[in-house]
Structure formats: structure tokens, C-alpha cells
């Protein structure tokens, strides 16, 4: 939402608070209440007010108020309207109770029923899909949970594909999302805390952690940071991420996000805190470490050697995606002596006809590639083919044949592009994209000297980062041997027995003794006796 709009909304709201609309208690007259409601909502057409008369001795007037579209109309019809209107025995049931209590206790057959005393609570409930029941002559109302409406079904997460592993992905509905995690961890220690953020949007934000595993200080820190957010709107978890991260100016992300419930489960089991935001399938979890951005779910589901080697490969490839064009530029413009003679002859034959310096050539190709990539994401799927053809022909062939770029540069850009797709985390890959251009400038002005300097600066910067108090580069720096088992390598479960030391402070042991499997001692499958059995 734009800045101006925010300014426009906030004083307005304050004025509303002053005039007493929000925190003021409800009136006893139903008509007055409804008038006030209509004034506040400006007779919005999607706010439905249904007036009823119930069959008690006084023929009490009752109003049912809900927002069409975000409620489940079937449950309103069946469990509210139908029960209220056709329940002839209301008088008998009523006994000495008030009408409202009778309705709440004996008539309404809906899961959650809350009492409402003031306008603020009323609007909150109404806007989040509850149905409000107001009774004439009562200074309070009822909010019944009838949340519903259209929502996307659970699909395979498009941004995090795995070869082996569950195919479920989060949806836009926060309750579905928390349920997906609950279904995986059937334990009462899984705690969910809810809060509302966003002055205008009143977005539901929930944090989830496992009591007894998560570090209490980190939970407190997450809550504190979320509570101090003062913004008009939260439309995606990116808003939250930007408002609570440790190092807002760093290109490296300090909060990891995922679309997969199994990733969130794994993370809260290690003692992290997950932050769910209503309206987005992306769930944040904190604290996040550098190595975490190179871990994919497949590492955990495939055998340990394969998982470890792939992780190692990803980090190597990340360095390629950072340094490949810069190294090429530095080597061909400063350090020709470092290139093997035969290769240098080939390179200089290719560069012979190219009119630009190597760095300009590199920039042309890199920027062209970024344009193509951006176009590829924004484009309607139907015209996707066109861009790939144009890209392949223009960059791959025509540019080389026209002598504008050298084939070697095309190879470098291609390998860089492919390398940048191997990083599982999009936010980390995009950081590399950004830094790459700075490195190219450094390479073009200082050669390898500049590259080594930049490498040192990047390492120092990474080591200075913290995510919710946890050093970003741990377990590498500070070096924690016990945590190394699940970092750039992954030890098998029977070897990697501890949770990350700094994150799951309370409760670190996760695997019991003697878990290493092996063949039986004899052919008749006699059980192997090991130490400690």
C-alpha cells in the first residue's frame, strides 16, 4: 500500500477511535446498534444483516450479521437461522436464563461461540469470518465461528520441488497451514500463538514452536519483534521478514522461508520458531543459518552420502554463480599469464573480432540474461516459448555470429545462470545475482586482487551477521563440531544425534543409542548383540 494511502488511513482510524466507535460498548437497542454498524461499514453490500424474531414470549428481535464470501453460508443457514427461527421450544428452554445465554448455550450448534461486549471485538470477529448475533435489549452479542468461503486446495509446492518427499504445500489459509504441521507432529507441546498485525488489514499472524525444544529467549525475541511492528498492512510474509530481520542492509537473507510443511516441521523440531501469515503460503522460520539456505529436503530423505555430496556440490556451485564471470574478466584482462597457452590462444582468437572490453561484454551478456529471466517469470505461460526461442537464438547464436560477444562469454554466462538455479533458496540465489555484478566491477578494476579482497569482505560480513542472536555462519564460525553433522554435510541419523546447540538449547538429544543398523550375526537372523543392549 502506498505511503499516501497509509497516511490517509491512520488518522482516520484514530478519529474513529476518539469518536468512540471502536472501544465503546454495545448499545442495548438493537436498532441503534445496527445503525451504528451501518454507519461504520458505509452500507457495504457484502455485509449482510438478517433480522429475525424468535419464538419466545416477548418475540425478541435478533439480528444475524456476517460478511458474505468469507463465511460458510451453509452452516449459517443450518445451525443459526434454522435453529433460531424454527425452534419452538425456546421458551421452555429459556427457563430463567437471558435470551442471549439461551441462544449461546442451547440453540446455536456451532463449534466456537464467544461473547462480545464492545465494537472493536465485534468488527474484528465480523471481518475474520465470524457471524455476529445481536439481541434486542442486550448490551452484548455473540460471535459464532462460521469461517469459510472459497480457498485453494493443497497442491504440490511449485517453488520447492523434491524428488522424494511429501507433495503437500502450504495454501493461503493460515488454519490449513498450521493444521498441515500439526498433522505431522502429533504432540501437545506444539504451541501456536496468535496475533494480529497491520492497522488496516488486521492480518492474522501466528507463531509455532515446540515447547521444551525451542529456546525461550528466541521465542521471546520473535514475539517482541512481531509486537513492535506498526504498519498498515501485511499482505505477505515478506513484509514481516523485512520488518523483523536482523540486518536489513545485508544482501544475504537472515530469515528462511518455505512452502513445505515438512520443512517447517523439521525446523521447529530443531528448536526454531515458525511464523505463519494469513494469506500467503510462505512460512518464515527463525533463526536461520547460512548453511540452511543450501539444504534441500531431499538431502534428508535420500541416503546420507548422497545428501552430503549434493550439499557440497551446491556450495561449490554457489561460488561459481558468484565468481564465474568475475574470474573470467579478471583472468582475461589482468592475468593472461595464468591461462594455459592453448586456452589463451583459443580465447584470444574468439575475442579478436569482439569490439568491447571483456567486462563490457560480460555486462552485456549478464544483463541480457537477467532480462530474459525476468521476462520468463512475468510472462503469460502461453508466450513462454517465444522468449526461450528468442533468447536462445539472439544470445546463443546471433550475438556470437555477429561478433558482438565471444562464445566463451556465452559459456560463462550459461554456466553462471545454471549454477544460480541450483541454490534451493530463492532469496540466497537472488543475493548472489546482485553481488555478482559488484564482483564483476571489482574484477575489471583490480583483477584477482579485487576478487580476493571481495571474498574476504564477504566472509567477514557473513561472520558478522546474526539471526535472532544466533551467529549466521555457525556451526562453521564459531566452529561447533557437534553441529557439523548437519551443515555442509549431513551425517546419517544414527550418527547425528544432537539438535543444533545454539538453537535447541533446552533439549538437544534427538537420537537414542545403538541406532546404527547392520546385518544379523548369523543366517538364521539371530539378533546382533551390541554393547549397551
Amino acid at each position: 500500500m502506498s505511503f499516501r494511502l497509509r497516511k490517509f488511513f491512520r488518522p482516520n482510524q484514530k478519529a474513529a477511535e476518539k469518536s468512540g466507535h471502536t472501544t465503546e460498548p454495545l448499545n442495548s437497542s438493537l436498532q441503534k446498534n445496527l445503525d451504528a454498524l451501518n454507519n461504520r461499514t458505509g452500507y457495504s453490500s457484502d455485509i449482510i444483516i438478517r433480522k429475525l424474531e424468535i419464538e419466545d414470549n416477548k418475540k425478541t428481535k435478533v439480528a444475524i450479521i456476517f460478511v458474505e464470501g468469507i463465511v460458510d453460508s451453509r452452516s449459517i443457514n443450518d445451525f443459526l437461522v434454522h435453529s433460531l427461527v424454527s425452534d419452538g421450544d425456546l421458551q421452555d428452554k429459556q427457563a430463567d436464563q437471558s435470551v442471549l445465554d439461551t441462544i449461546a448455550d442451547k440453540v446455536v450448534s456451532v463449534g466456537i461461540v464467544n461473547r462480545i461486549h464492545d465494537w472493536k471485538k465485534l468488527y474484528e470477529s465480523l471481518m475474520s469470518g465470524h457471524t455476529i448475533i445481536l439481541v434486542d435489549g442486550m448490551e452484548q452479542g455473540l460471535a459464532t465461528s462460521t469461517k469459510g468461503g472459497e480457498k485453494r486446495s493443497i497442491e504440490e509446492p511449485p517453488t520447492e520441488i523434491s524428488i522424494r518427499g511429501p507433495r503437500e504445500g502450504f495454501t493461503e489459509n493460515i488454519r490449513t497451514n498450521t493444521a498441515l504441521v500439526r498433522r505431522r507432529i502429533k504432540n501437545p507441546d506444539v504451541r501456536v500463538k496468535s496475533m494480529t498485525i497491520g492497522q488496516v488489514t488486521n492480518t492474522n499472524v501466528e507463531i509455532m514452536y515446540i515447547e521444551g525444544i525451542a529456546n525461550k529467549k528466541i521465542i521471546q525475541e520473535v514475539c517482541d519483534r512481531l509486537e513492535r511492528i506498526d504498519i498498515d498492512s501485511i499482505l505477505e510474509s515478506g513484509y514481516i521478514e523485512e520488518l523483523i530481520e536482523d540486518e536489513p542492509v545485508s544482501p544475504f537473507p537472515t530469515i528462511h522461508f518455505t512452502e513445505r510443511p515438512d520443512v517447517v516441521s523439521g525446523n521447529i523440531l530443531e528448536g526454531r520458531v515458525a511464523i505463519f501469515v494469513n494469506g500467503t503460503p510462505f512460512v518464515l522460520h527463525a533463526p536461520s543459518l547460512f548453511v540452511q539456505f543450501f539444504q534441500s529436503v531431499d538431502d534428508y530423505y535420500s541416503r546420507a552420502y548422497i545428501g552430503s555430496s549434493l550439499r557440497f556440490l551446491r556450495i561449490m556451485v554457489f561460488l561459481i554463480s558468484l565468481y564465474a564471470p568475475a574470474t573470467y574478466v579478471a583472468a582475461t584482462t589482468f592475468h593472461q599469464e595464468m591461462i594455459p597457452t592453448q586456452l589463451l590462444i583459443v580465447l584470444s582468437a574468439q575475442r579478436e573480432a569482439v569490439p568491447f572490453p571483456a567486462v563490457v561484454e560480460a555486462f552485456i551478456m549478464e544483463i541480457t540474461f537477467e532480462i530474459l529471466r525476468e521476462a520468463g517469470i512475468r510472462m503469460p505461460k502461453a508466450v513462454g516459448q517465444t522468449v526461450s526461442i528468442v533468447g536462445a537464438l539472439v544470445i546463443g547464436q546471433a550475438a556470437v555470429q555477429a561478433g558482438i560477444v565471444s562464445p566463451a562469454m556465452v559459456i560463462i554466462v550459461a554456466i553462471t545462470a545454471i549454477a544460480s538455479f541450483t541454490t534451493p533458496s530463492y532469496s540466497m540465489a537472488i543475493a548472489a545475482r546482485l553481488i555478482r555484478f559488484f564482483l564483476m566491477v571489482l574484477a575489471a578494476s583490480f583483477g584477482f586482487y579485487g576478487l580476493i579482497l571481495s571474498f574476504i569482505v564477504i566472509i567477514v560480513h557473513l561472520c558478522s551477521l546474526r539471526s535472532f542472536g544466533i551467529p549466521y555462519m555457525s556451526p562453521l564460525a564459531p566452529f561447533i563440531p557437534a553441529d557439523f553433522g548437519d551443515s555442509i554435510i549431513r551425517l546419517p541419523w544414527w550418527r547425528d544425534k544432537k539438535r543444533p546447540k545454539l538453537i535447541g538449547t533446552n533439549n538437544t538429544v534427538r537420537v537414542g543409542g545403538n541406532q546404527e543398523p547392520g546385518p544379523p550375526d548369523s543366517r538364521d537372523m539371530k539378533k546382533k548383540t551390541r554393547k549397551g543392549d
Binding site: 593472461q336 582468437a349 578494476s445
Partner: protein
């Protein structure tokens, strides 16, 4: 406050970039020098020939693509002058690009220059320059000028410098009459009084003038060819002799540089009938000074090899025959080495580094001998060669098929 700090940071960072692209050089601005040839002219000046690679003609798409007139993979430029650096700078009048010496892997020196003046005056510039690599191979142009060698085009290896270096490397491993000597191997020998350098020679045969043209390499048998010939022996930095054939092989045996070679021995009346292929060897040189004040050098060689060929019907299953062959091989190698050492003693130049061996075993004696080592003490050395040959395998056949014929 924060803005101030940011400004300062920006200023600091931008000062770093003020130098611009210092010492940046684009590939198309460089002329890759593959070989340098140095000759002496009649008037006593140096004549340098630089071989510059035309990358487009060596590699890349353009070679097949253009289809126009084919041009040579290298061009050569010649320049005269009194010192190396002057010549190098003067060439810029003729070349459109900066000469880039980091990939030069061959230095050719004319025979006339090394015989008359020696190596000492030309190496300083090459060693001092930060671009030129001292691991470049150095060869002597035997009976021709360096410029002829550098100008000659070669088939297979498109860059002639590569041809010379690769030929040396291959023949060093296969035949053992030549050594691939780098400039940095020569320099310590020039300085040391206990060892003199040896440098391989290359010679031209055929018509040197047509070697410069593309037509030369368009034939199956080029009109001008180059081959590794002998081994140049130096004394006080000057070439004194070029040894060839078994004589140079003996030198390389004694230097412990044989990687693999052949030893052909006679069997009864038939000359060079049994061929022994050396697969590995180790040469140890020991030095001592006798009580009578004469130096004594012991050369111990242990050789391992296979039987490569027998032109006579002998049974290789018979151990006594194998012992016979081993004895003959040992004797042949021993003769080889002894005649080479004799030759060096006649030339009064210690190319084997026996002086260094004495230096290590008897440092005190060496101090007295050092001054007159080559002229007085080296020729009087007593040389003792022992060879231990061993036949590891006899190939795929024990009984030569010749024995069935008879």
C-alpha cells in the same frame, strides 16, 4: 550522523576506483610471443626474431569459417640492437600490439652466438623480466641461425615453438639423447664452478628459405624440417662442442636423466641383435678424494628393462642367456658412459656436476680445487662406473619364432 558515515564510506570506496583499470590489458591488445630467437650479426649486434601467434589462424571458428586465403599460424618480426630490452622495445615499430612474453616457451640461440660470445650476456634481461618465464625451453640452432628455426612453419603442431618443445619432451622420454633444458636449469649451472650446462641442439634440414611459406607444410614431406640433434657442451658459458648419438646418451645416463631408452647389444656375430628397453633406472654419483690427492668418482647405475626384440634364435626361458644379455647391456652402458666422460675430460668441462659432488663430500678440498677444477683436476679424475642391469619381462614371447624356422 549515519548519513555522514555513509558519505565517508562512499568517498573511501571511490578513491579505490580512482586508479581505474590499472594495468588492464585486453586480449586483442596483446601479441602472444611463442618463441624468441637470438643471433649474432656480422657487425657484432644481436638479431632477435620473435615468433608471434596469430590466434585466429591457430584456433577458433574463423579458421574454418572464412574460407578465404589461408594465412600462417605465426608471424615473425626481426630487430637488431645492442641489448635485449632495446630490441624488445624497438620491435614495437613493426607490431601493432604489445608483445606479451608470459607465454613464450622457447628460446632459440644461434650456434654462432654461443660459440663466440656465450650465454652470459643475453640471460640477464630474460631472467630480470617479470613477464618472461624462465621455465621456457632453451635450444641451440645447430649449423643454422636461430632466426631460421623460429621462422620455419611446421605441420601437426601449428605453432612451431610448440613443435620444438614437444619434440624435445617426447624424445627425452623415448630415446634419451636430448634434454629438455629450461632457462632456469641453465642459470645455476652457469654460476656454479662445479658444473657446466648442456643444452639440446636443433638443426634444420631441407630448404630453409621455403620453410617460411605455407606451401612448405602443404606437402606430406615439408621442404624444411627441424629435428633434435645433439647436445651442446659448454665451458665458461661458451659452446665448445656438440656431442651426438651414443656420446650424448652417455652424458644423459651420467646425469641421471634417462627416462626410457634402448640398449642394443651384439649376439655372437650379429650386431645389435638383442634390444633391451629401459623402463626405469637410477644413477648415483659418489665422490671421494684419494690419499694421493686425486679425485675419484663412482657412478652406480641400476637399470630395469624389458627385452624388446631379438634378431637371433635364443631361448629367453633360459636364465643363463638372460644373465648373458644383462652382462652385455651392463658393459654397453658402462662403455657409453666412460667414453662420454672421457670426451668431457678432453674438453676440460665438467658437464656432469662431479665438482658439485666433490664439493659436497670434501668441502675443504673443493675450496683449493675450485679455481682450477675444469682445467686441472676434472681431467685427472678417476672414474669408476658400475652398472647393474635387470631384465624384468621378455615381452609376449619366450621362444623367438626364428628358432622354429631353423
Amino acid at each position: 550522523m549515519k548519513a555522514n558515515r555513509l558519505c565517508t564510506l562512499v568517498v573511501f570506496i571511490s578513491t579505490a576506483f580512482l586508479s581505474g583499470c590499472w594495468s588492464n590489458q585486453e586480449l586483442p591488445d596483446l601479441a602472444l610471443v611463442s618463441a624468441i630467437g637470438i643471433d649474432k650479426t656480422e657487425d657484432g649486434q644481436y638479431m632477435n626474431t620473435v615468433q608471434v601467434i596469430n590466434p585466429g589462424n591457430v584456433a577458433g571458428e574463423s579458421r574454418q569459417g572464412t574460407g578465404g586465403t589461408e594465412s600462417p599460424p605465426v608471424s615473425t618480426y626481426m630487430e637488431k640492437g645492442n641489448n635485449m630490452v632495446q630490441i624488445q622495445r624497438q620491435v614495437s615499430k613493426k607490431v601493432s600490439r604489445r608483445l606479451y612474453y608470459a607465454h613464450t616457451n622457447l628460446l632459440v640461440i644461434g650456434e654462432k652466438l654461443v660459440r663466440e660470445e656465450g650465454l652470459k650476456n643475453i640471460f640477464d634481461a630474460l631472467e630480470r623480466d617479470n613477464e618472461f618465464r624462465t621455465n621456457a625451453t632453451v635450444v641451440i640452432a645447430q649449423e643454422s641461425t636461430a632466426s631460421e628455426l623460429v621462422k620455419t612453419l611446421t605441420p601437426i603442431d601449428q605453432v612451431p615453438a610448440e613443435k620444438i618443445v614437444n619434440t624435445l619432451k617426447v624424445t627425452e622420454r623415448m630415446w634419451g639423447e636430448n634434454l629438455n633444458v629450461a632457462i632456469r636449469d641453465v642459470l645455476p649451472d652457469l654460476v656454479s664452478s662445479g658444473k657446466e650446462p648442456v643444452i639440446s641442439c636443433f638443426s634444420m634440414y631441407g630448404d630453409a628459405a621455403t620453410g617460411e611459406t605455407l606451401e612448405s607444410i602443404q606437402e606430406t614431406k615439408p621442404k624444411a624440417r627441424m629435428m633434435a640433434s645433439g647436445l651442446g657442451v659448454f665451458k665458461d658459458g661458451k659452446l665448445v662442442d656438440i656431442v651426438q648419438g651414443d656420446m650424448s646418451k652417455g652424458v644423459i645416463w651420467a646425469l641421471d636423466e634417462i627416462k626410457s631408452t634402448l640398449v642394443s647389444v651384439d649376439w655372437k656375430e650379429k650386431q645389435e641383435a638383442v634390444v633391451y628397453e629401459v623402463i626405469r633406472q637410477k644413477t648415483d654419483v659418489g665422490a671421494e678424494v684419494n690419499k694421493d690427492g686425486k679425485g675419484k668418482i663412482t657412478i652406480d647405475i641400476s637399470v630395469e628393462g624389458d627385452i624388446g626384440e631379438t634378431a637371433v634364435p635364443i631361448s629367453l626361458k633360459n636364465p643363463s642367456i638372460l644373465y648373458d644379455v644383462e652382462d652385455k647391456v651392463e658393459k654397453k652402458i658402462k662403455d657409453n658412459i666412460q667414453s662420454s666422460v672421457k670426451k668431457a675430460q678432453d674438453l676440460q668441462t665438467d658437464i656432469f656436476g662431479f665438482g658439485d659432488a666433490i664439493h659436497q663430500s670434501n668441502p675443504k678440498v673443493w675450496k683449493e680445487w675450485e679455481k682450477e677444477w675444469d682445467d686441472v683436476y676434472f681431467p685427472e679424475l678417476e672414474i669408476n662406473v658400475t652398472v647393474d642391469a635387470f631384465i624384468r619381462r621378455t615381452g609376449l614371447r619366450n621362444e623367438p619364432f626364428l628358432s622354429s624356422i631353423d
